[in-house]
């Protein structure tokens, strides 16, 4: 009489082999049955267990052989010789698997993964995703651990969540008080409140800087003037819309005094520094250190670059000119001249301290208006020599401004002409790869499931079956084309990371990415232009044909029943 343990051992052995047989590959299942039948002859429980363990080993080996066998056959074919009627894919599964492996290997390289991330990001208008924010949180935790204030300041500029960005900025300045200027970056974020304590800290740290007083004036107004972009807008590209209040600015009466006081302080300050260079350096340094920060977040940093509100400055200069005119009309030409000269000097200081073309243009306009006021004043006072000098200065300013505008337009138009076809190629090859990949996967799955014979009419079926053969190498070629077409953009990224920080290098990168963003195929379907349309129409037609083949076969039964 066997003991309970012995009976249990025998039962476990039998049950495990019975279970294995249920999942045994069909072509070798009879061997499993043979093993099980012998198990009934084994009397000693320990030997039975040993036999069952051996049986499980054979079961695993059978599965391995089955997998190898499957790989040697084409999709839709079984090792027992069963195959579906009609045309079948011809390439063995291992060829398809090798091609997919090669495709996967292409995307192992970090630069290629970055290319994919950037293009995918351009399809979302460079809008950040929850994954992006998780990356920032991880990097911020690491920066906090290293007590790295600069890295935290960089992440504060990249962080889309305004509350977190505020916390990062606070902590960065706490760790490194020399970074107080990063608080100014927040002024360009419409979704962020302007904290009075930040403004005070900026003023205390840099009292002679006109830029800080301009921000103070702006902060006085901002509470009264509704921000033009709702805080729900999270797309960084749209942040740039928030340049300032509408044209023809005049401060609300409630803050008129405070605003004027700050603007006067700006006018009398000894220097102008918008911290743009430091911001660019911080962005470049941060991204070089942590290249895993996605471009969708880096764009936030680009757009959060601090700038003064030019419309407010122009409004103030107009007020000063008006004030000078009133003084002149009241018989105080010296006072009028003093006001205008002070304004012109501020304009010159602004021009000298400008670190971006955008600021430089604003500065030239302010100088121009002040010089124009001076010229009129001298004209009315019959001071010919001074009038001529002011007119000459005015011409010079207008010429410089015009040149700057023309250079900017020429450079943009040349950059655009250079980037346009490249961006089209990248987007077209990316979409083509995606569509081709989806169709290939669909045809492979359908051929494996044997869905073709029952539903597809013969010609469409043959084509779809062939798609399973030529699809994978086509995807490989297309993916390689996509990665190659991205090379100029990868070069721009490398250039940005390696070059000394400059407005031009940043502008180049932004242009490259904007080109990619504007070349999104769907955008071009409703903004057609040149070769982009040609490319996309071609790809669209090819894609539609391929989709039609599959769709027609799946949803439309053949007119006559086919014999097997």
């Amino acid at each position: 009489m066997p003991s309970r343990a012995e009976a249990l051992a025998k039962t476990v052995a039998l049950r495990s082999l019975h279970l294995a047989i249920r999942f045994w590959p069909a072509e070798s299942r009879h061997w499993g049955r043979a093993l099980l039948a012998e198990l009934y002859e084994v009397t000693r429980p320990s030997e039975a267990l040993h036999w069952a363990v051996g049986g499980i080993t054979v079961f695993l080996r059978s599965h391995l052989s089955h997998a190898v066998l499957l790989l040697r056959l084409a999709p839709g074919q079984a090792p027992n010789g069963a195959r579906h009627t009609g045309s079948q894919p011809k390439n063995p599964r291992y060829v398809t698997a090798l091609v997919f492996l090669a495709i996967a290997l292409l995307f192992v390289f970090p630069s290629n993964r970055e290319a994919t991330r950037i293009v995918a990001s351009s399809w979302r208008d460079f809008e950040s995703t929850p994954d992006d924010q998780r990356i920032v949180e991880r990097l911020a935790a690491s920066a906090e651990k290293d007590r790295d204030g600069r890295q935290l300041a960089f992440l504060a500029n990249c962080e889309p969540d305004s509350d977190r960005a505020e916390q990062f900025a606070d902590r960065a300045v706490e760790l490194d008080p020399g970074l107080v200027w990063v608080l100014a970056s927040r002024f360009r974020r419409p979704d962020m409140r302007i904290r009075k304590d930040w403004v005070s800290r900026l003023r205390d740290s840099d009292p002679d800087n006109a830029f800080v007083h301009l921000l103070e004036a702006e902060s006085a107004v901002i509470s009264q003037v509704p921000r033009p972009v709702p805080s729900s807008v999270r797309t960084p590209a749209r942040l740039v819309l928030r340049i300032g209040p509408p044209k023809g600015f005049s401060p609300p009466p409630a803050v008129q005094g405070e605003w004027t006081r700050h603007m006067e302080q700006a006018l009398g300050s000894r220097l102008y520094d918008s911290y743009a260079r430091r911001h660019l350096e911080l962005t470049r340094e941060g991204w070089t250190k942590t290249p895993e920060v996605p471009l969708s977040l880096l764009v936030y940093s680009f757009w959060s670059h601090p700038l003064p509100d030019l419309t407010q400055m122009e409004g103030f200069v107009d007020e000063k000119i008006e004030q000078a005119q009133e003084e002149a009309a009241a018989g105080h030409p010296d006072e009028a001249e003093k006001i205008l000269k002070q304004t012109a000097t501020f304009g010159q200081r602004f021009v000298k301290g400008s670190q971006t073309d955008f600021e430089r243009l604003g500065a030239l306009e302010i100088s121009r208006r002040a010089q124009q006021g001076l010229q009129r004043l001298y004209g009315r006072s019959n001071r010919k020599l001074e009038e001529q000098a002011a007119a000459a200065e005015l011409r010079e300013l207008e010429k410089t401004k015009e040149l700057l505008i023309q250079d900017g337009m020429k450079s943009r138009s040349e950059t655009w002409a250079f980037l346009h076809p490249k961006a089209v190629l990248v987007q077209a090859s990316a979409w083509f790869t995606l569509i081709l990949g989806a169709l290939t996967m669909a045809s492979l799955i359908l051929s494996e499931l044997g869905a073709f014979p029952r539903r597809l009419p013969r010609p469409a079926y043959s084509m779809a079956a062939r798609f399973a053969d030529f699809g994978p190498p086509a995807v490989l070629v297309s993916a390689a084309c996509f990665l190659l077409s991205f090379k100029p953009f990868a070069a721009a990224l490398a250039q940005y990371r390696s070059a000394a920080p400059s407005d031009a290098a940043t502008a180049d990168l932004v242009w490259q990415m904007m080109a990619l963003g504007f070349m999104r195929p769907f955008l071009y379907f409703y903004q057609p232009s040149g070769e982009a349309t040609l490319w996309l129409i071609l790809i669209g037609i090819l894609s539609l044909i391929a989709l039609w083949i599959v769709a027609r076969g799946i949803w439309r039964r053949p007119p006559t029943a086919r014999t097997a």
Binding site: R33, A34, A37, E41, G54
Partner: protein, 103 residues
């Protein structure tokens, strides 16, 4: 003749056991006991021999009541000829020694 296969000492032991009474049908458990091979080693060899055509297999026609039918094995005519050659060659190269005496 089927495919060539790599002959291990375990395979040679099995061939020797099958050659003791070549016309007789053998059970898997009996072969395991006579060769000392565990089921995890024995059955893959049997599977390979069957695939190459050197092993004949069949199911027991009258199984013991309450038990599944057993699988039976014996070498085919070509299999026997080949097995003798292999065993002889292995003995000559001293790669293998007979377990049950001279083959």
């Amino acid at each position: 003749m089927g495919l060539r296969m790599r002959i291990s000492r375990q395979s040679l032991n099995l061939l020797e056991a099958l050659l003791i009474d070549p016309s007789h049908w053998h059970h898997g458990y009996a072969l395991s006991r006579s060769t000392g091979l565990a089921s995890g080693s024995l059955y893959p060899i049997l599977m390979r021999l069957e695939k190459t055509g050197w092993l004949e297999t069949r199911w027991e026609e009258i199984p013991t009541p309450g038990r599944p039918p057993r699988h039976l094995y014996r070498l085919s005519a070509t299999g026997r000829e080949w097995a003798r050659e292999e065993l002889r060659a292995a003995q000559q190269t001293k790669f293998w020694k007979p377990v049950h005496g001279k083959v």
